[in-house]
C-alpha cells in the first residue's frame, strides 16, 4: 500500500500547483488523474490570460486570489520557465449606455487594489488594465507538474477514484481503478491529507467522500483560433457588456504563440448522467457562426479559411444545495479533505495562490511535515529552434524537441499521446494542423522510441489513430 502525506486528485493547473507547492515544502505527494496526461481538461481549454483582478466582485475569493496570482505570476513564470508577456488589456464601451459598465469595472478594480485607469480606445470610452498578461496555460501546467515530479511528487494517470474512506489510523484511503491493456486494475493509496482539485469531477469526488451538497454546473465556452499569418494583436480587447446581454461580448485575445483567439461563448449545459466529457467539449454550428460574425466585426477581412481550429472549454461552475455559487469555494467539511470547487476563470491566474493557501493550511495542521524542505530547480524546454531538422514546419518543432518532450512525459508517468506531445511542443498546432507532421511524428516515435503506431492514440485509450497495418 502506498502511503503519502498528501494526495492530490486532478492534474490540471490547480492540482499541479498544489503538488508543486507540496513537494517544495517537503511533503510526500501523490497526484491521481483520470486522463492519460496532465492538463487535458479545463486548464488546457481557456484564453491563457493572466488576469489582473478587476473583473471579480470585491471581497470574493476570485478577486483575492486573482490579485495575488497576478502579482506573483511573472516571478513564478521565470522560475519554472514558462512564457509570460505583460500585454495590458482594454475593456471597451461599444455604446454610450455601456459606459456605466466601464465605470463599474473601474470602481471594482480600484476596490480590489488593482491598477486600472479609464481611457479612450479607438475613440471609445474604455478601461485599461496595464497589469493583464498572457501565458501558455499548457506549458504552465506541465512545467508545474514536471517540477513537482522532479522534487519527488508521484503521478498516476488513467485512474479514477472509486472509494474514499478513513481507515483505523485515521488516514484517508483512496481506492482507484486504472484502465489498462489487461482490464481494470485496482490500487489503494493512503495519505494524511487529500486535496480535491478535480475540476469538472470535483463534485463527484466530494460525493465519493460522502459530501453531497455540491454539484458541478458545466458552462461551455467555444473559441476559434485564427491563423497567425492572418495577423496579430498586441493586447486583449473585451467589450464592456451588460451582464446577461443578448450578445456574446466576444473577446479577442492574443496567444503567446502569435494566434488570435475569438471567444469564449458562454452556454450552460444540461448534463445527463451518461454524458461523456468529449460531448461537453463539442463545438456547435450556431455558436461557431456567432463567434465568427462578432469576430469579423472586430477583425476586418477575417475569412472562415483563416480559422485553423475551433474548440470548446467548460467552466466548472459549482452549485451548493442546488443554488449557483458564484465564487471559488474551498470546502473542508471533512477535516483534512480539502476540496477546491468552482475553479473557473481566473483559475490559471489564481492556481498558485490557491495552492499556497491549501499547502499552508496542511502545514499548519502538521508542521513536522515541512521539515525536509527541498530546493526546486528550473527545467527549461530548450527548444533547438532553427538549427536542426524540422519536423513541424508551421511551429518550427524539431525532432529533438519531440523526443525530449516524449522522455519527460514518460518519466512523469503519463501515457504518450498525440495531444500530450502537442501540448508540450506545439507540434501540429500550426496552420496546417498536422497534415504534414503527423506522419513524420509517427515514424520518429517508432524509430527512436519503439512506439507501436497501432497503440498510439490521439488522447488516450479508445482514441487509437490507426485500425490496422496495410500489409
Amino acid at each position: 500500500m502506498d502511503k503519502f502525506d498528501l494526495i492530490v486528485i486532478g492534474a490540471g493547473a490547480v492540482g499541479s500547483a498544489v503538488a508543486y507547492e507540496g513537494a517544495k515544502n517537503g511533503l510526500s505527494v501523490c497526484v491521481i488523474e483520470r486522463e492519460p496526461d496532465v492538463c487535458f481538461e479545463t486548464s488546457a481549454r481557456n484564453s491563457g490570460v493572466v488576469h489582473s483582478g478587476f473583473n471579480n466582485p470585491t471581497g470574493s475569493l476570485k478577486a483575492l486570489y486573482c490579485k495575488r496570482g497576478s502579482d506573483m505570476f511573472e516571478g513564478l513564470a521565470t522560475e519554472i520557465d514558462v512564457p509570460y508577456r505583460k500585454t495590458g488589456k482594454y475593456v471597451v464601451a461599444i455604446s454610450d449606455e455601456d459606459k456605466i459598465y466601464v465605470d463599474e469595472l473601474y470602481e471594482q478594480g480600484r476596490a480590489n487594489g488593482v491598477n486600472v485607469e479609464t481611457c479612450e480606445f479607438q475613440g471609445r470610452y474604455a478601461l485599461y488594465s496595464p497589469d493583464t498578461a498572457i501565458t501558455d496555460p499548457l506549458r504552465y501546467t506541465i512545467a508545474l507538474a514536471e517540477a513537482a515530479h522532479l522534487n519527488g511528487a508521484i503521478f498516476h494517470f488513467d485512474r479514477n477514484v472509486k472509494i474514499i474512506e478513513k481507515n483505523s489510523d485515521s488516514l484517508f484511503e483512496l481506492t482507484t481503478t486504472q484502465k489498462g491493456d489487461y482490464g481494470e486494475k485496482e490500487q489503494i493509496f493512503t495519505s494524511r491529507y487529500v486535496v480535491n482539485a478535480a475540476g469538472l469531477g470535483a463534485a463527484d469526488v466530494c460525493r465519493i467522500a460522502g459530501i453531497d451538497k455540491f454539484e458541478v454546473l458545466p458552462c461551455r465556452g467555444e473559441y476559434h483560433i485564427v491563423d497567425p499569418y492572418f495577423g496579430e494583436i498586441d493586447y486583449p480587447v473585451y467589450p464592456a457588456v451588460r451582464p446577461g446581454a443578448d450578445v456574446l461580448g466576444v473577446h479577442l485575445t492574443p496567444t503567446i504563440d502569435g494566434n488570435i483567439l475569438i471567444g469564449p461563448s458562454s452556454e450552460y449545459l444540461q448534463v445527463s448522467k451518461d454524458m461523456m466529457l468529449p460531448e461537453l467539449y463539442a463545438t456547435t454550428g450556431e455558436v461557431m457562426d456567432q463567434l465568427f460574425e462578432e469576430g469579423s466585426r472586430l477583425l476586418p477581412g477575417l475569412t472562415k479559411a483563416a480559422i485553423i481550429r475551433s474548440f470548446a472549454g467548460v467552466r466548472p461552475k459549482v452549485l451548493v444545495d442546488g443554488d449557483e455559487y458564484d465564487d471559488f469555494l474551498i470546502d473542508e467539511s471533512i477535516e483534512g479533505f480539502i476540496s477546491l470547487l468552482g475553479i473557473e476563470s481566473p483559475g490559471i491566474t489564481a492556481s498558485m495562490p490557491l495552492a499556497m493557501e491549501v499547502v499552508d493550511k496542511i502545514i499548519s495542521y502538521a508542521p513536522e511535515l515541512s521539515a525536509k524542505k527541498v530546493a526546486l530547480g528550473t527545467f527549461p524546454y530548450n527548444r533547438v529552434s532553427g538549427a536542426a531538422q524540422q519536423i513541424c514546419r508551421c511551429e518550427s518543432v524539431t525532432a529533438n524537441d519531440v523526443l525530449m518532450a516524449f522522455d519527460r512525459l514518460t518519466s512523469l508517468g503519463a501515457r504518450p499521446t498525440l495531444r500530450g506531445l502537442k501540448n508540450r511542443t506545439r507540434i501540429g498546432m500550426g496552420r496546417c494542423q498536422g497534415s504534414f507532421c503527423t506522419g513524420e511524428l509517427i515514424t520518429l516515435l517508432r524509430q527512436e522510441r519503439q512506439i507501436d503506431p497501432m497503440k498510439f492514440s490521439m488522447a488516450g485509450a479508445g482514441s487509437e489513430m490507426f485500425t490496422r497495418r496495410l500489409r
Binding site: P278, C394, G434, G439, M465
Partner: protein, 472 residues
C-alpha cells in the same frame, strides 16, 4: 554562400526549375528541400495519370518523380536535403539582395542569392477552415495526410469513412481506401459541381459505386474517443469511424508572410519593386494546379525567365512576385469560367453519357455515337470504356520491411481488380517465404528500382512492377 538562384522546395516545381536551369547553362543554383528526399508529395501519389500531358505516358507519381530525380543526379551537390529555409530577408549585398537562413541538422546555413524561386507547394485546409462542428475524436484526417499514412507509413486509418470534398485527392482516396477494404460510405461536396477531374470521377467513384452528394456538407461529427458518425446537411446520418477532409488546398507562401489589415506582419517584398522582381513563385505555391504536368511546365518557364533576368534583360513574368495578384486573378477567372461551363454541361442529359478521353491533354468528350473526338483514338477509347473498361491497378506491397508502391504494367479489365487485390493481399516477399523477385529467390533484402518487375505475368498478362525503389 552566394548563389544565382535559390530554389525552395524539391517537389515537381522545384525539380523542373532546376532541371531547366542546368539545361540553359545557369550556374550557382541551390535547391533546398526540407524532407530527406526529392519529389515532394509525388511519392505518396501512387496512383496513375501523371505525365499524360507532357510526356504522353501514363505514369504513377513516384515514377514521374524519379524521372526528374534521375535528371538531377549529376547535380547532387547543388541539392540540400533535410534543409528547411527558415526565413528570407533583404540582404545588404546589392548584387545578391536576398538572404536566406537554412536550418539543417548540422546547424544554420546562410545563403545570399540573386533570385529566389518559391516552389513550396500548397497545404491542406484542416477541420478549422472546413468549419465542421461537433466533438473532436480520433479519426478525422486531411486527405493528404491519410494518403501518406496509407501509402508511405503502411497504416490504415479506419474501417469505414466519409469523404468531405470531391477534389482530386478526395476522389483518389475514395478509391484507394475502397481497394484496401475500407468501406467508403460516400463523398460529400458543398458545391453544385464535383471538384475533381472527370477521369477521377469515373475511375474512383463510378467504378466502385461510391455515392457523391452535391450541395451537401457535414453538419456534425459524433464520437467521444473515435468518430462514430456524421450528420449531413441533406438530412442523412451516416455511421463511420473516419472522416477524410479534402476541403481545398492553399498555396504555401508563409515564407513571404501574409498581408494583414490589422496586424504587423507585412510581406517581405511589399513596396520594394526591385526586390519583388527577384522573387518567383511557381507550381502550387503560385496557385493550385490540377495536373502535375502543368506544374513541371511552370518550372521550366520560370527557369527560362530567370535565365533572361540573370542576363540583365528586363522581364515581366507572371511568376514574378510583382505580378502574382494578377496571375492569381486570371486563374480564378479561368476556374470560374470552367465551373460555369461544367454546370451548364451537367444540366444536359448527355453529360452523363459522354466519356472524356484521357489519351491526350485535349480531353475530347466522346458522345455515345463515338463523335466528338479530334482523332480516331478517342472513339476507340470511348468504345472500350463503354463495353470493357480497363484500368491500371496501383497499390503497394511489402518487400522485406519496405512498403513498395506498385502498378500493373498495362491496364487490366476492370472487373479483375478485386481478384488482383486478392493476390496482392497474399503476396509475400521476405526471408520467410518462397516468393521470388525477377524469378530468383530472395535470400536478403533486395535493392529495388522503379520499373523492376516484382511478379511476372501477375494477372491478364500484365506484370506487377515497382513504381518506387527502396534506395535513395
Amino acid at each position: 554562400m552566394k548563389k544565382n538562384v535559390l530554389i525552395i522546395g524539391g517537389g515537381p516545381a522545384g525539380m523542373a526549375t532546376m532541371d531547366k536551369l542546368f539545361e540553359l547553362g545557369v550556374s550557382d543554383v541551390l535547391l533546398c528541400e526540407r524532407s530527406d528526399r526529392l519529389g515532394g508529395l509525388l511519392p505518396q501519389c501512387i496512383h496513375d495519370g501523371f505525365g499524360l500531358s507532357i510526356l504522353g505516358k501514363n505514369l504513377s507519381g513516384p515514377e514521374y518523380s524519379s524521372l526528374y530525380i534521375q535528371k538531377l543526379k549529376p547535380h547532387a551537390e547543388d541539392i540540400l536535403l533535410e534543409a528547411t529555409v527558415m526565413n528570407i530577408s533583404k540582404s545588404e549585398n546589392e548584387d545578391y539582395p536576398i538572404a536566406a537562413e537554412i536550418a539543417t541538422s548540422n546547424g544554420s546555413i546562410f545563403v545570399e542569392a540573386k533570385t529566389v524561386v518559391l516552389a513550396t507547394g500548397c497545404r491542406e485546409r484542416g477541420r478549422g477552415a472546413a468549419y465542421i462542428p461537433g466533438t473532436r475524436p480520433a479519426g478525422v484526417y486531411s486527405a493528404g495526410l491519410a494518403q501518406s499514412l496509407v501509402n508511405l507509413k503502411n497504416l490504415v486509418i479506419g474501417d469505414s469513412a466519409v469523404i468531405v470534398g470531391s477534389g482530386d485527392i478526395g476522389l483518389i482516396m475514395a478509391r484507394r481506401l475502397t481497394l484496401e477494404g475500407v468501406d467508403v460510405k460516400c463523398v460529400v461536396e458543398i458545391d453544385n459541381v464535383p471538384g475533381g477531374l472527370p477521369r477521377n470521377l469515373r475511375q474512383c467513384l463510378y467504378d466502385y459505386d461510391i455515392p457523391l452528394y452535391l450541395n451537401t456538407t457535414v453538419t456534425n461529427i459524433y464520437g467521444n474517443d473515435r468518430v462514430t458518425g456524421v450528420s449531413l446537411s441533406n438530412g442523412m446520418d451516416i455511421d463511420c469511424d473516419t472522416v477524410i477532409l479534402s476541403v481545398g488546398l492553399i498555396p504555401e507562401n508563409s515564407l513571404l508572410d501574409y498581408k494583414s489589415e490589422i496586424g504587423k506582419k507585412v510581406l517581405l517584398a511589399d513596396g520594394d519593386e526591385a526586390l519583388s522582381k527577384r522573387i518567383f513563385l511557381c507550381g502550387n505555391s503560385l496557385f493550385v494546379h490540377g495536373l502535375v504536368d502543368d506544374v513541371s511546365n511552370n518550372g521550366a518557364e520560370v527557369a527560362e525567365e530567370i535565365n533572361e533576368f540573370l542576363n540583365n534583360k528586363d522581364i515581366n513574368s507572371k511568376y514574378q512576385y510583382t505580378n502574382i495578384e494578377e496571375t492569381r486573378a486570371q486563374e480564378s477567372k479561368r476556374v470560374k469560367a470552367n465551373k460555369e461551363k461544367l454546370v451548364k454541361k451537367m444540366e444536359s442529359e448527355d453529360y452523363y453519357k459522354t466519356i472524356t478521353c484521357i489519351l491526350c491533354p485535349n480531353s475530347c468528350e466522346i458522345a455515345e455515337d463515338g463523335s466528338g473526338g479530334k482523332c480516331e483514338r478517342g472513339a476507340a477509347y470511348a468504345a472500350e470504356e463503354r463495353t470493357a473498361p480497363k484500368r491500371v491497378l496501383t497499390t503497394s506491397v511489402m518487400v522485406w520491411s519496405d512498403l513498395i508502391s506498385v502498378r500493373t504494367s498495362k491496364p487490366i479489365p476492370k472487373e479483375h481488380i478485386p481478384e488482383a487485390m486478392e493476390r496482392i493481399e497474399h503476396l509475400r516477399f521476405g526471408p520467410d517465404c518462397a516468393a521470388s523477385f525477377r524469378g530468383k529467390p530472395m535470400p536478403s533484402r533486395p535493392m529495388i528500382h522503379p520499373g523492376d518487375v516484382l511478379v511476372k505475368d501477375f494477372i491478364d498478362g500484365a506484370d506487377l512492377i515497382a513504381t518506387r525503389g527502396n534506395i535513395r
